[in-house]
Symmetry: C2
Subunit: 214 residues, 2 copies
DNA sequence: TAATACCAGTGTAATTTATACACTAAATGC
DNA sequence: GCATTTAGTGTATAAATTACACTGGTATTA
């Protein structure tokens, strides 16, 4: 069932960079491509936009199909459309960024991908297409725009310690933060509240558990 | 000469929101559409992306064709792609923002547009497609991200008074700024230098003219 | 030619925000 | 009970932001 147009049309895809914090390091979900082009290389999950489907909906669907992840907030990074970025045809891709708490990521390889897993952003493999460049932009955007509240709401599990939250903020920003200054700032933000629980984590004083206020 | 694909493809356009400051108010360049759909309505200049043309290049070309403006810096705002935003077919548009000094805008109506002119952003006409929504996002982005340096470099004529620069910053931010604080801040920015000239503007003390340092 | 209207140009004090920094508390392992 | 490890807490300094009022130079006009 062919589709014909008077003028040539590019294909349009969506790609989703899902970031998380794992072992105190910023990481991103990649899939291994099963097919040409770039078969065997790692790539950001994504795929073609349905003709009657909104961009965001397509992003959500593709992410789910390829990794099993049901994205929460999806923020658009922008469109990437250099004429030679895909050898099959002219493809313009609209990239979204999402954040996920590490404990919500149950990665399942989907039909288009032979594998899906996390990579630390400072230890990325060679990527398909122009996905290296796209990830650079995505990380820059992340560092520029994300604040403590977004980290707490989107990147943390339901209950966490203040040290966990600090580590996550540090992983995202790529900088160290002073513990006392961080906690002082948190107080002014009115963002978290104690759950009453504590960790029983090891040979040291237990930490109080917190949750994000609603 | 028809073009055929196995799967349906959306059309891809670029649109450019060119902002300037005129009479101390933030304004945007619009064209009046000559043809269906939305004939007679005002719209952001833009058009279809050539199949071998980068997005930014297409934006630059369309802006030039429709208004005569040779854009300086083009910053991508993002992609807008709701399925029903164009009655002709599925159209995904990639929107760019540009700033222009008012004295560099010599608007010429191009072939696709019966008219091109400036509108103050707080006095916009009814717009074609989803361009109202797009402009809202563009203005929000502008207010969020633009700083004194960008205003001075991109929005001011070659020589200007400090009051002119302050008025432009106020127009962009939508807020008033204290004169002495503004000038104090300018000193720390190391951004402008006096040209030696002065305005001979009226029944008051003349103002010194400045230019942006290179 | 003195008075007025108009915009240009200048500095200081107070407040708020960000930064630097070191010890005590509670648990476990030996 | 001593060593080790992470949790938890406050103060002093520096930096950035805000608020605020008068003098200077030109043109107009009474």
């Amino acid at each position: 069932m062919p589709y014909t147009y008077e003028h040539p049309h590019p294909a349009v895809t969506v790609d989703v960079a899902v970031f998380t914090v794992s072992d105190g390091r910023l990481a991103v979900v990649l899939i291994r491509r099963a097919e040409w082009p770039h078969a065997g290389k790692w790539a950001i999950p994504g795929g073609f936009v349905g003709i009657d489907e909104s961009l965001k909906r397509a992003a959500w669907r593709e992410l789910r199909e390829e990794t099993g992840i049901k994205a929460g907030v999806l923020e658009q990074l922008g469109a990437f459309g250099r004429p030679d970025r895909d050898p099959r045809e002219r493809v313009i891709t609209v990239v979204y960024i999402s954040l996920a708490a590490a404990d919500r990521l149950r990665l399942e390889a989907g039909s288009d991908a032979s594998d899906a897993r996390l990579f630390y952003i400072d230890d990325l493999p060679e990527l398909a297409f122009d996905h290296s460049r796209i990830l650079e932009h995505a990380i820059e955007r992340l560092r520029d725009r994300i604040d403590t509240e977004a980290v707490a709401r989107q990147l943390m599990p339901a209950r966490f310690t203040l040290t966990d939250l600090q580590r996550a903020c540090e992983a995202v920003s790529g900088d160290t933060i002073d513990k006392r200054n961080f906690r002082k700032k948190l107080k002014t933000l009115d963002l978290v509240e104690p759950t009453g629980g504590e960790t029983q984590s090891g040979a040291h004083r237990p930490a109080k558990l917190y949750r994000v206020k609603s």
